[in-house]
């Protein structure tokens, strides 16, 4: 649609004939106002740059962590397999991170099952395997465990799914998470992956309803590019529930910077500063086809620099 907002209202006034008289009249009771009073959050926001570990070229966890530590990263996102793979690899990861200026942010590890299905064994599997992931995350000192409430395949009506998720799935998982001191972090996806939970504000509303100190939400710039009207508004709605941020290039979901000027995160970073965010901003993305390991390392180093630069601008 080529008509912008200002043109539309000019057009409206012209098209209304006599009625436009009302619109043109000045209102006596109006008060014109500039910026609102906004307070800096206490404590202030901190930038922590992270990356999914398996994105980093390397033969071992230690080799991958070496690179991140040397290139402006201080948070590692745990990925690489399912809940069983994670349990098997916890000790090796814990050993590899020792004596480094790095810490684990969250796990991005698939549970089994599907909370969106009427079949109770599907929902039971989500609870059991998520609890296992939480235990591994606790052993690694991670902040939390990413979870996706539902994807495309859903046979429960949405209102029933929401109700069951809150009353049947979350309580048992969150009781376990509270004991372990680890958060369960719900990730909204874009419409190609789910219609159930697409907006950060909606995840925050579920988090509030769940009423547990162990619940949190994730904002993923990739999904937000498709779904949110305003990155700053989304992060403000998440507020203290925001425990993790994913970042990728905004056109093709590659390493930030690959899509050049489209990869602007400044408005979102303003929101993170406003809420005093101190979690990780962590890369979950792919590489352009056929790049070498050396090129991958260069892209990761540039991405960290880009985030730092845009954080300063925000």
């Amino acid at each position: 649609m080529a008509i912008n907002r200002r043109q539309f209202f000019t057009f409206s006034a012209a098209g209304l004939g006599g009625a436009a008289l009302f619109g043109a009249r000045q209102a006596h009771a109006a008060t014109t106002s500039g910026m609102p009073v906004l307070k800096a959050p206490e404590p202030p926001a901190e930038l922590h740059i992270g990356c999914q570990q398996m994105l980093v070229p390397g033969k071992s966890f230690a080799e991958r962590y070496d690179f991140l530590e040397a290139n402006g990263y201080d948070r590692i996102e745990i990925n690489g397999g399912n809940w069983e793979w994670l349990a098997k690899n916890v000790d090796e990861m814990a050993a590899a991170i020792k004596n480094r200026n790095l810490r684990f942010s969250v796990t991005c590890i698939s549970a089994r099952g599907n909370a969106g299905m009427a079949d109770p064994t599907e929902r039971r599997a989500v609870i059991d395997t998520t609890k296992s992931i939480l235990e591994s995350a606790a052993k690694l000192g991670a902040t939390g465990v990413i979870t996706v409430p539902a994807r495309k395949k859903i046979d429960l009506p949405f209102p029933e799914l929401r109700e069951r998720y809150l009353k049947e799935i979350l309580p048992e998982i969150l009781a376990h998470a509270e004991k372990l001191g680890v958060c369960l972090i719900m990730e909204p996806l874009n419409r190609n992956e789910t219609m159930f939970l697409r907006l950060v504000a909606d995840a925050a509303a579920i988090a509030r309803d769940a009423n547990s100190p162990a619940i949190g939400v994730l904002g993923d710039f990739w999904h937000m590019t498709a779904e949110e009207t305003n990155d700053m508004g989304a992060f403000i709605s998440a507020g203290a529930y925001l425990k993790h941020v994913h970042i990728a290039s905004r056109k093709t979901r590659k390493i930030p910077g690959v899509d050049s000027e489209a990869d602007n995160y400044v408005l979102g970073f303003k929101g993170l500063k406003l809420i005093g965010y101190r979690g990780a901003i962590s890369i979950e993305a792919g590489y352009p086809k056929g790049v070498s390991d050396d090129q991958k390392r260069k892209l990761l180093a540039q991405a960290a620099a880009l985030m730092r630069e845009q954080w300063a601008q925000a």
Copy 2:
């Protein structure tokens, strides 16, 4: 849950044993940041206080408008009946508002039909009666027409309803609205009235997808009290799509001020200032039981003063 966020993380560190070592380590790459850079919107926000006309005691439109004009209001919200009632009363309302420092904001008038039903005659009725309301609104020089996409009674699956709403319902209504120079304004409700559209950010996402200069969204403080985690975040997500705001007391949906200190709108008003909002903030609410017309007038005058005071604080 009595544990607050800070206590939770203290507890986490204590409970993790060896793993807590990772958490306690200082991150070398962190940048601590205060407030973001935010620009004042241009043009700046304006406060326009409105009220549904039938809330005002009076025997005629003119008598109701007299009161509003004399008591700090400059916007009238059109309510009082269905689309047929509206068409019949347009001339009388237009005559009553002449030569006043008042203008019509929006209509709050029920259409017939139900967009959430599989029966196509239900969806057809929504389109036809909404177009009639748009025509009346245009004659009155109103900004827009409030619509509720779906309420409790829905037999379409939610993803199909959203798709049909965007592809089948909105295009014909919006083409008509564009010709008339009037906006169609979608109102999210709270969960007791619908599960389909509850969040301002979700309405804004539909508005963006609809891609028309004649689409807008409404933020109603009453529904927002139940559904939003942050009034400011919600309004920022609405941005330029925000065309109308409803206001009521925040515990019992009465005239603002009736619920005393619960009736705080300052955070939301900050959001309105940030987006340069110039639409109406309009009362849609009830009265406490048994109040006289004199008491009603007093409550309305006090509500306008309360809004003005909190706007100044925001």
